[in-house]
Symmetry: C2
Subunit: 125 residues, 2 copies
């Protein structure tokens, strides 16, 4: 059938709390090889997203404060039952490479990246 997000998303998601430091975010990105970390409030709801690109921005601005100072607050997300082609278009339109996948309670249940979608193409040949 048609590929949906839950077919290809990563289900173990590495997150970080908004009160963490930029240094902590850089350490997690290095340790996990993930480029994109959803940022959580204390009640585990989504507060934003911080990426390796944001760390590069912090370096260029010499601004090494808290994650919440350099994260992106308005997060573009996906649902588990959406078609991959729809999510691929959303990634492209918003010029981002990854999106948290949320359930109906807006809790994070996965992460989908352009790497995951590119892999689908690798299987086609």
């Amino acid at each position: 059938g048609i590929a949906v997000v839950s077919d290809i998303m990563a289900v173990s998601v590495v997150t970080i709390n908004k009160d963490a430091s930029v240094y902590d975010a850089a350490k997690i990105i290095q340790d996990t090889s993930f480029n994109h970390l959803p940022v959580l409030n204390d009640d585990k709801t989504l507060a934003g997203i911080i990426t390796a690109w944001d760390i590069a921005k912090a370096v260029s601005l010499n601004k090494f404060d808290l994650v919440e100072d350099i994260m992106t607050r308005k997060v573009i997300t996906a649902n588990a039952d959406e078609q991959v082609a729809v999510v691929a278009r959303r990634l492209d339109l918003n010029e981002v490479s990854a999106m948290p996948v949320l359930n109906k309670d807006r809790h994070i249940i996965g992460m989908i990246t352009s790497d995951d979608i590119s892999k689908l193409y690798a299987r086609r040949s």
Copy 2:
């Protein structure tokens, strides 16, 4: 016909010299929104690659020296006439999200990313 690298690669490539600073690399990554910068020797041949992920690594190691100190030297590349499916598999196997495209003289003629390949999937629906 079957999609090849030259059909979807970016032809304007932003590069950086190996003697530049990590700060310079971070500034270029922020200004261009590219995550991956091929690093060139003075004779314009490929010396390595530096990415936003490497900048995050430099932050976590507190090591802000020259690009050549934190770049990856053994660069995984692609040719313009290769099938996209073959390149998508190479990205996946090597766990990287972008590759410089080289001509027969090993000069850079483009850049192909998992974002470019994911976009192909967006058009299929």
